[in-house]
Symmetry: C2
Subunit: 320 residues, 2 copies
């Protein structure tokens, strides 16, 4: 089953989210509107809004209330992508030019700032100080994750803990917050919101690990950028860490630098695939997925729960 088919019953509400997303980023500044729409139209799974909506189904679901939260979470994600592309000096994202490439680093900086700020503004439509606090804490953690990513670039001596902490901050906590805040916006019981938060964390970890695997196993057409881009940019991900247990692979990997040629990268990717790195990475992704499923089992049984199950399963196994 395709991802979108899993939550087709949310289609009308997701259209409302998309509409609000567009209205929110549209601004008086032609260039900014253009940049934001450029990013929106590049697509993306909108997985954070989907989690917000599904989590809200565990409370008193009101799309008018919950859509602000869904848009806020997606905007924070988009803002962090815009800033990430500056850090990574990335030219392409989802097959399209990045904002920093199409405009400039400076413009990308403020475009990201603006999206961050607008997301906060949206969130304050919810008169709930706890929700504001959770969002603020989450943004701080995302920033920490991004700072760690700069700090850890081309550091081939980092360990697994370092990697896991980074993806927790960079990815998993935002997905966890999407689940938690969706539940809070729908006035679900605190216990339920907390479990959804934990579920989101585990799914987020699995999601990012799979993403990091795909950087090596995906084709350029699937990825929208050349395979191995993460490694070329110095991001030491899980498959890289596992591959470096092999002496020959380690030697080649630790010599990667920003000017490593596409042909050399192809060789290195082939070398990584010859090790058991991909297999071991999938196994760890799967362990997080199993934890996510166990949390789900403690939640009330409903359509949202089975959909969360399907999405989580898809995310951990996806090939693009």
């Amino acid at each position: 089953m395709k991802l979108k088919a899993m939550y087709s019953f949310l289609n009308a509400d997701l259209r409302a989210v998309e509409k609000e997303l567009e209205e929110t980023v549209r601004s008086d500044y032609a260039q900014l509107s253009e940049a934001a729409l450029h990013l929106l139209q590049a697509g993306g799974k909108r997985i954070r809004p989907v989690f917000v909506l599904l989590a809200a189904k565990f409370g008193t679901y009101d799309i008018e209330r919950v859509k602000h939260v869904a848009v806020a979470l997606e905007l924070i994600h988009m803002a962090s992508l815009v800033h990430d592309d500056v850090i990574d000096d990335a030219e392409l994202r989802r097959g399209r030019q990045t904002i920093k490439a199409k405009w400039s680093n400076r413009f990308a900086m403020y475009a990201g700032d603006y999206m961050f700020a607008r997301s906060l503004e949206l969130m304050t439509r919810l008169e709930n100080p706890r929700a504001h606090r959770i969002l603020a804490n989450t943004i701080v953690e995302v920033c920490r994750g991004e700072i760690e990513q700069i700090k850890d670039k081309y550091r081939f001596d980092q360990n697994l803990r370092c990697y896991l902490r980074r993806i927790k901050r960079k990815t998993a906590l935002l997905i966890a917050a999407s689940c938690q805040l969706g539940a809070i916006a729908a006035n679900a019981a605190k216990e339920v919101a907390d479990r959804l938060n934990l579920f989101g964390y585990y799914v987020g970890m699995s999601f990012q690990i799979t993403d990091d695997i795909l950087d090596f196993t995906g084709t350029e057409a699937q990825l929208g950028k050349p395979a191995g881009s993460d490694l070329l940019q110095g991001n030491v991900t899980l498959p890289v860490l596992f591959a470096m247990e092999d002496e020959r692979a380690r030697e080649r990997i630790t010599a990667v630098h920003p000017k490593t040629t596409p042909d050399e990268m192809k060789e290195i990717i082939a070398l990584i695939k010859q090790t058991d790195a991909i297999e071991k990475s999938y196994a760890l992704s799967d362990r997080y997925l199993q934890k996510a499923f166990r949390v789900l089992e403690t939640l009330p049984k409903n359509k949202a729960r089975s959909t969360l199950y399907d999405i989580a399963k898809y995310i951990g196994k996806r090939d693009s």
Copy 2:
């Protein structure tokens, strides 16, 4: 009277603010702590915390409660400076290397993001959705002001309205929010908080106009950077707009570009000073100041009110 002497009765509380400011920016990341402390130690007037504290005196003053707000506002200001320096490609600020010069544009981007995020986190210690909303709106406006500043760079055909809108967003609204949020944190009456907001707006406008004048009339020692830096970076400020009414000055000014030499800049500054631009700019600054005073007169008479009066007067007339 010196600025600091005007509010010496707040010294103990300002030390508490300074301490919390340091603790807030100190992080697990050595480089980030170093960068933030570098910025803190460069000093600055801490005028936003002072406004927060004085505004809080119109309600039930509790430094433990109000200090988070004071720190949050100063952090937002600092974060915007860090991002501004990236935009302006500025090497010096307050006589010290900027973060982007000492480290890199990328690092400055995330250091700014982190400070923004931490300020939000602090603000949510106040269980007051209205305060959160005001802060979020203010940050959006600051971002808009910064985007306008990029857009308007080297646009010598912009008008007065364009300049005033930009400084409102970039500066005045943050000072207005400092006053308003200080009052709200102290549970002052809404009417009082709203008047303090208006007072802050007028003072902020006067403050930024004076700042823009000093860029031409100040010495390098006073400014911590060469005179005319704003213009060299393409920022078309009030004295520039007025000076361009003179045909000869207009011709020289509109030819300014990033590579204009220091000697040429000196000539252009001299030319601007020969026009009535400085005088006219001070006159407009003074008009805002008079409006600020009139708002003050409608507030309860107390020590805080007379101090706000003194500070406002100083800010509008200062020479450094």
